[in-house]
Amino acid sequence: MTRHERRVVGAAAAGLLMAAAGVGAASAGGSHVDGEGAETLTVWTYYVTGGQIDALDAQNEMFEQTHPGVKIDHVQIPFDQLAPRLLAGAATGDGPDVVLDNVVVDFPALAASGALLDLTPYWDAYPDAEQFPDSAVWRTDDGIFNVMSYTNLLAMYYNADVLDEYGIAPPTTIEELESAMAIVAEAGDYTPLSMSGVATPEGAWMFMPLLLSQGVGYCNLDEPSVEGAFTTLQGWADNDYIPTETATWDQADAWLAFASGDYAFGFNGNWNLGELAGLDFTAGTVQLPSNGSEGSVVFPGGEAIGIGSFSDNQDLAWEYIQSGWMSQEASLINFNTTGQIPTRADLADAPDLQANELVQPFVAAAGSTANWPASPNTAAMQNAMGQAGSAVISGALSPADAASQVVSDVTSEIADGGGSC
């Protein structure tokens, strides 16, 4: 079977699976020249929040001004469908010029599928490459496929007006947080905490810091530690510190709940910082409260940029990544609009970052992150953790049963992925 035939076959099968699951067909991508002679670069993202979209528009405008004759066509794809569409594109030889993907979950699959171009030649020739830490450059044995111009981290937002009302200081440990939540819950005017607990990697990302601060991650999960963390989570649900519907809330739902002003605390990411100005209350931020010897530890997150393997204009796409994302100017536009923290070392002391008090807990969090497992089955591990956490919050499973289940699932995924972690 030729490569072309295999693509047709792959496309048909992927299309049928997507149709069976009710997922729409991927929109066409790739650079092209429009009727006015302008060259168009297609950029896929799953951005939905105002801040991220505003930053993207501003960065695109900057790039278009410095590159006359180039237009950026931004295609918004639902979060869950971006990776499937890239994979379906890999089967048909189609895809975007540039993509911002959920690297921490999808990188192993995307890099292995051939959907992303190997950026090694570009990266080796990039004069600013040394400004970026290793954690911002996502590679496999076959090359570099994603780079991160910014990182996203979790911290805790608080409603300063509510804390003032009850005389509560921003908590730094889980113990302090639970005392504060007890006060808020007892008063009954506000719900103590909004967080995501959905049965997906999103929920797992928000829950994992409870384990990471004890030095436990996916690669060294043990039932007693997981059961202990799940018991904490169950206690929050039982004491009405978090609503039961946390079990189906994604991060956007959790943010909307906090932004409503009805919540005292909210676990969420720095990409929401840009929206604080529009809130009806004064908000503050602190690092996620910790409950273990390791202090506050989170997984690094955020989107990474890649070039589609089937882009017709790969050089222009790299130019867009360099100027529109990785440059100092673009990174600062992005930071000032969204609060997403630049990965460039030469911006660590930039006045824009230093002057923003609200971003400091996130900057501090960037200095105490855990490593993601280096396994092709990372997504499956996170999925299993998300399902277990959601089950505990809703009461579908006891902490002991959920811990036993997730430890078994993750262990089996590590083994299935080749045993390395």
Partner: protein, 309 residues
Amino acid sequence: MLTTATASSGSGSRSPVRLAVTRFTQQPWGYLLPAVIILGALAVFPLIQLARMSLSEVGPRTIVGPWEFIGWSNFRKAFGDRIFWQSVRATGTFTLVLLVVDLVVGYLGAAVLSSGTWSTNLALRIMVFVWALPPIVSGSVWRFLLAGNGAINSLLGLVGMESVDWLSSPDRALLSVSLVAAWASLPFSILVIHGGLLSLPTDVIEAARIDGAGFWGLSRHIVLPILRPTLAVLTVLIILYAFRSFDFVYVMTEGGPGTVTTTLPYFAYNTAFKTYQFGVASALAMVSMLVVIVLAVPYMLGLRKEHAG
């Protein structure tokens, strides 16, 4: 016209090619060929590929490259997954709720709406609108309505009742999603049954009424037996619809809390597009298809036999 044209042109003067074309176009299968080609390309070929995929090792690394044949391994993996059996039960519950609501409420609704007044005609038009709503839209609306601080709980609060965790309680989430899916498919059932009611022989109905039959007597002894073929087809369509129970689960609960609302199609989606095990996901899709065939085909064959008898 055709006879005249053939006679006047004279078959002896025709080239063999023209003759072959003429013979070809005169055969019924010649006219069927375009449909067969389209069906083969868009339905049969992908189904064959799905079957191949379910018997092969297909992951992100191999979706483009050659697929290694691994026999029933994907099926064994699917059957060995604890979520599989839970998703089978969830799909069964989902199907049962849809069948009960769509057939029982559908029949009662169609009976009420068959009076043909302006208000019933208006109701039928509104139902067509509800039916035409994309599930992503109606599912999102219901998700907000059923949220902790949503309209339904606000209404309960107004009458002094406690809020209900419609979508996050493990005891209620599946029922809530199933009922929303049933709400969305109910207009279709009502319209189908309504069409069947309109075709009932009025003289038989009138005679039964004169003999003193009430609504239930009429329904049991006359209407339902006559509508049986319609209801049988509707039942099969509802089962097919239930086994495609992806949209509302995806929008309203993402399979949670935990895996409580993970139906077979959602499990297949999760396996394919969240954990990238395309081979196992194809095996799940094949199992779904097989279940539908097992449920639907004997019923349809029995119905055909009954008609023939």
